[in-house]
């Protein structure tokens, strides 16, 4: 219920929201949890396995129980913690994991079946009959498992990813963090202050303590105002730093739009940040832990710090009659704060017989809670102490087993925390993450004064490391006590299940069972019981469980140790990690200058690397790609075709040692190439295998233009730079990618010269421009280049102009081609044409083929060293056992040959040990009216004429093929020299 006064909520800003279909009123500043409690709603969920009624336990991101679904329909968001969700007008929230309703959940039958559903039950039950597991048990268990559910529709929410930089990243804006940010900023550092809450201040907003004579929350407000006015400070609210990574990199999730009802389409709901910080201060505070006792999970059983947070920050009393149970002085603050707010205190139960606190309410020292009552919400509890057993009526039980410093980020790089007996908790190990300093409660400095001092000290350490001057000290006064604690983890000598992990429904009994079954290390116990493996990652349960395990094994807690802490600290949507990567944002798209014209002609596109290239240009009447492809092949061989080849890498190579450089990089020789000539080259890896091939033109004595295949362009460029800088810095040469500068088109076919003659100013007769020559040309006043090279085996050229003229030139070429009964052709036809001629692509140059395999051993010059030269002499890279390039034709004219299929000798079983080779490229040749293929066959060059079996095990196709030389059409190459 809402208290009449106080709270950091705006009583003048009422809001309406719905939970499970029922309308409620709340206030600006409320979370869903605080608003529901204010409305007397405390049943908020059903537990994972046993479907026990559950209510909210905490006031923060560590909440295990109050997980709800926000929104409805396609964009419903499951597993949202009610303690973090800010309410807005029109918010719709729905409880999860129950059917048909929260009050009446039929799956609560699981609770009755609990003796059969303990830890690891699926290793022992549901085993018989065996076949039922896959058919029945597993599907049923899977449907029953899980908490929230996704809609299954596409996530259309917008996400953002962004980078940030700072000198000092302060993680957490409680007293330690605020002080650290202030000191660091006053020292001149660039500061980012991040806090997961929408209202910075940490525990200062939840407590009644004073700082510098001001109420803590007002000091926090004032400090934030001061920081916000400083140019060198950036405050990131609603931002959880989720992980610490190498080199001072931190991941952070900003919940940008989750508090907004009608988020504009362009605004992201979340932004995932990568922050590069020279130093960082972990001021993430501490989270409270409970004590385990029978039926400690009823709605109304909460953490003590959370109960007073609801009272102090949200002016909400979670109940009318509150009992408190703890093992430390801090729990007494809850009793005191609620009493001051006029709430009835039913009892203050302290496990310590010597507890020093006093108050105007019933006190039970040296006593424990042994049980609770109230199925859908707490109605009472049993207390046992020196005076015997007592039944106490209460609707809220505030529990405190102590506080755990939030060490997580310090353990993200394989560090383990160390045990601090004084506070009975783990604290960060020193220097666990380079550059990350813990401060405040996260470092085990539990009082407000200690937190302020610690934050200030951490900032000074950071400033010193950055070489900045420290500002004058200015740490305000604050309380410095109330941290005494005596470890107490669970109530023994009782019957009934005592809960450790509320989210995964794991009890003390389960940990005992794990130990009994010999899962005795903390890592095994975790996996066997699933404790700590839910979305709250064991924030409330890990320490309690390892304390139980420690008792069972007799190994003290520090020796028992913790499991590994891994990012993210709280859950992160995959959408946020994949921001910008949806649809066309996934990878860059590269377009040629002829793209628009090709699209207008109806060409479908395929991806080649990042490029989009036209597959074919369908003409009226053509209904399949094969019809268009066959027609385009005939068109090129009979008339003339135009294809955009701009995507191939083009690298400008200049310098006094350019020729020597190419001789070193290529297997064959380029220093002997004359200016104005072009030569085909193969480039090897140092292990003697072919990396790439292409034609290189000599433009001048000291200038070459290299081409590469489309997909390997980037790799080859990097390789050339590697050669220049790492292997041969003695060579005076410069390389530069000019791929995008030139638009380049192949013009191929018997009428190619006629076509170009009409466009180009210069004489391009055979004598002036012989095969494998190149030179400058002028097209309509534009300076371009012409190369007489052919990938089709026809009389062909490639004409290049600066890319701004590419679109215009393509259109002009295609128009002229069409007037000569030719036209544009695409990748399908280009591939068939080159297979007919046995020209290679990366289908054959796939990284495991050598010059010997390809029949190009003679291209490796004997007169010079080159990359890969020595390796080509290795035994095993030459010889009849190698799979050598061959051509293949089906014995029966219409039969298929499929790339990827393997080759077997006639009569041999088609199994791996009999494998003779494989098919790399195949296509129907309209020129020869049969399927043709290229592939690799063991000792292939000696087996021309042999009949071989092609077997495609995947598609179930078998074809008898004839092995032949890998060139099918015009082997003498007469057409290209026309």
């Amino acid at each position: 219920m809402r208290l009449d006064t106080g709270g950091l909520i705006d009583r003048d800003a009422p809001l309406r929201f719905r939970f499970d279909g029922k309308g409620h009123a709340g206030l600006k500043g409320d979370t869903l949890a605080s608003a529901l409690l204010a409305n007397g709603v405390r049943l908020m969920g059903r537990s994972f396995k046993y479907h026990r009624p559950r209510g909210v336990m905490t006031a923060g991101s560590e909440e295990p129980n109050a997980l709800v679904q926000i929104g409805a329909g396609d964009q419903v968001a499951p597993n949202i913690r009610a303690t973090q969700q800010e309410i807005y007008d029109g918010l719709t929230a729905t409880s999860q994991n129950r059917w048909p309703s929260l009050r009446t959940d039929l799956l609560a039958v699981n609770d009755w079946l609990s003796p059969f559903l303990g830890a690891g039950f699926y290793y022992k039950t549901f085993m018989w009959p065996r076949s039922f597991w896959e058919k029945l048990y597993e599907p049923v268990i899977r449907r029953a498992a899980g908490l929230g559910a996704l809609s299954g529709a596409t996530d259309t929410a917008r996400y953002d990813k962004a980078f940030a930089h700072c000198d000092v990243l302060v993680i957490g804006a409680g007293p330690a963090g605020l002080m650290a940010a202030l000191t660091a900023a006053r020292g001149g550092a660039d500061v980012i202050l991040a806090d997961e809450d929408f209202r910075p201040g940490g525990r200062l907003n939840a407590e009644r303590e004073e700082v510098g004579g001001l109420p803590g929350h007002l000091w926090a407000e004032e400090t934030i105002r001061t920081l916000a006015e400083m140019d060198n400070v950036r405050i990131m609210r609603r931002t959880t730093v989720t992980g610490a990574y190498d080199g001072g990199t931190y991941g952070a999730l900003e919940r940008v739009g989750e508090h907004v009802g009608d988020l504009p389409d362009a605004a992201p709901v979340q932004t995932f940040w990568r922050i590069a910080a020279r130093r960082a201060i972990l001021a993430a505070g501490a989270t409270e832990r409970p004590i385990a006792f029978p039926d400690n999970d009823r709605p109304g059983v909460m953490l003590a710090g959370a109960v007073r947070a609801y009272a102090n920050r949200w002016a909400v009393a979670p109940g009318k009659r509150i009992a408190i149970f703890g093992n430390n002085d801090d729990a007494w603050r809850t009793a005191r704060d609620l009493a001051a707010a006029g709430v009835e205190i039913a009892a203050m139960i302290d496990t310590r017989a010597d507890a020093a606190g006093t108050g105007d309410f019933p006190v039970h020292r040296g006593a424990v809670v042994t049980g609770t009552r109230g199925r859908l919400g707490l109605t009472g509890l049993s207390v046992e102490g020196a005076g015997g057993r007592e039944e106490i009526a209460a609707d809220t039980l505030a529990v405190s087993g102590g506080w755990n410093p939030a060490v997580h980020l310090t353990c993200h790089m394989n560090g383990r925390p160390v045990w601090d007996a004084a506070i009975a908790a783990f604290v960060p190990a020193e220097n666990a993450v380079p550059g990350l300093l813990p401060a405040g409660a996260a470092a085990g400095r539990m009082t407000t004064a200690a937190a302020l001092a610690s934050g200030d000290a951490a900032a000074r350490t950071a400033l010193e490391a950055l070489g900045a001057a420290a500002p004058t000290p200015d740490v305000p006064q604050a309380e410095d006590g109330g941290t005494a604690i005596t470890p107490f983890w669970h109530v023994t000598g009782t019957r009934g299940r005592a809960w450790l992990d509320f989210q995964n429904d794991v009890t003390v009994k389960d940990v005992k069972l794990a130990h009994q079954e010999n899962f005795r290390s903390v890592e095994h116990m975790k996996r066997y019981t699933t404790l700590g493996m839910a979305t709250d990652q064991g924030k409330l349960s890990n320490i309690g469980a390892l304390a139980v395990l420690s008792e069972l094994t007799g190994r003290p807690i520090p020796e028992t140790g913790t499991t590994t802490f891994r990012p993210p600290y709280t859950p992160v949507r995959i959408g946020a990690l994949g921001a910008h990567a949806r649809g066309s944002g996934f990878a860059p798209q590269r377009y040629t200058t002829s793209h628009e014209a090709s699209r207008a002609r109806g060409a479908p596109f395929i991806e080649a690397g990042l490029w989009y290239r036209p597959s074919y240009f369908p003409r009226p009447g053509e209904t399949t790609w094969r019809e268009s492809c066959d027609r385009e092949v005939r068109m090129v061989r009979d008339s003339v075709g135009v294809a955009d080849v701009s995507t191939l890498g083009k690298i400008d190579i200049q310098g006094p040692d350019a020729a020597a450089f190419l001789d070193f990089v290529y297997a064959n020789t380029f220093s002997t190439l004359k200016p104005g000539r072009v030569r085909y080259g193969i480039m090897l890896r140092e292990d003697g295998h072919v990396m790439d091939d292409g034609t290189t033109a000599r433009l001048d004595d000291h200038r070459f233009l290299m081409t590469t295949t489309t997909a390997a362009a980037g790799q080859v460029m990097r390789h050339l730079e590697y050669v220049q800088q790492v292997l041969r810095p003695d060579l005076d040469v410069q390389t530069l990618s000019v791929t995008d500068h030139w638009a380049q088109f192949a013009v191929a076919g018997p009428k190619a010269r006629d076509l170009l003659d009409s466009l180009v100013d210069e004489d391009i007769a055979d004598a002036a421009f012989p095969f494998m020559s190149c030179g400058p040309v002028t097209v309509a006043g534009v300076a371009g280049r012409l190369f007489r090279i052919s990938f089709s085996g026809e009389l062909a050229y490639e004409i290049a102009v600066p890319a701004r003229y590419g679109d215009a030139l393509f259109r002009a070429l295609v128009t002229r081609a069409e007037s000569l009964e030719g036209g544009a052709y695409g990748m399908e036809a280009l591939n068939v044409l080159r297979i007919e001629k046995g020209f290679l692509t990366h289908a054959e140059l796939h990284g495991r083929t050598t010059p010997f395999d390809l029949g190009m051993a003679r291209m490796v010059s004997g007169a010079k060293d080159c990359i890969g030269k020595l390796a080509t002499t290795r035994p095993g890279l030459n010889g009849p056992e190698r799979e050598q390039l061959v051509g293949l034709k089906p014995v029966a004219a219409g039969a298929e040959i499929l790339p990827g299929a393997h080759l077997f000798s006639e009569g041999a079983e088609a199994v791996r040990v009999n494998d003779q080779g494989y098919v790399t490229s195949a296509g129907f040749s309209p020129t020869l009216n049969t399927t043709l293929a290229l592939g690799f066959l063991r000792d292939g060059r000696a087996r021309h004429g042999e009949t071989i079996r092609m077997v495609d095990h995947l598609r179930g196709v078998e074809t008898a093929c004839t092995v032949c030389p890998p060139v099918f059409f015009d082997p003498e190459g007469s057409r290209v020299r026309g």
Partner: protein, 185 residues
Amino acid sequence: MVELIAKSPVADLLPVEAGSCRLVACAPAAITAIAPYAGAEEALSQALDSAHGLALPPAGRAAGTPGARLIWAGYRQYMLVGEIAPDAAVAAHAAVTDLSDGWVVLRLEGAGTESVLARLTPLDLDPGVFKRGHTARTELAHMMAVLTRTGEGMEIMLMRSFARWGVARIAEAMESVAAQAGLPD
């Protein structure tokens, strides 16, 4: 006789305006890559200085004016961008290559420039760190890019074939930043 009309890859997409930011096309008449030969940096610098009044800038810097800017463009690489082509004397000391059509030059202007670019590049573009006259080769939305802070804003060079996709990514980031500015507290 045919006429070849020049076409820009991004003219129809620009300018883009969102919030306080504007993305516009720049159209320098020429971009020339200049890569010094071994030991020729000094001679090259002098040749450029006497011909164009522009000496070689140190790594990470750009010198000149919108009409003629000499940008450090990487390891032993420079780019001359603007209305001028390099003097013939330069070719004696360096590999000179016309790259006018290889890059598209954009400019992002306005108060939200750093916020927008934070969505796209890991480079620290804080005005205190990346000042006027600073240039960097870096990654922008998975693409190679050259960023230069000038008096007019942030110049962004993208390779021509990437430019259309790049403009879409920058526009998306601009819209995101603009939309976030209007969200309630």
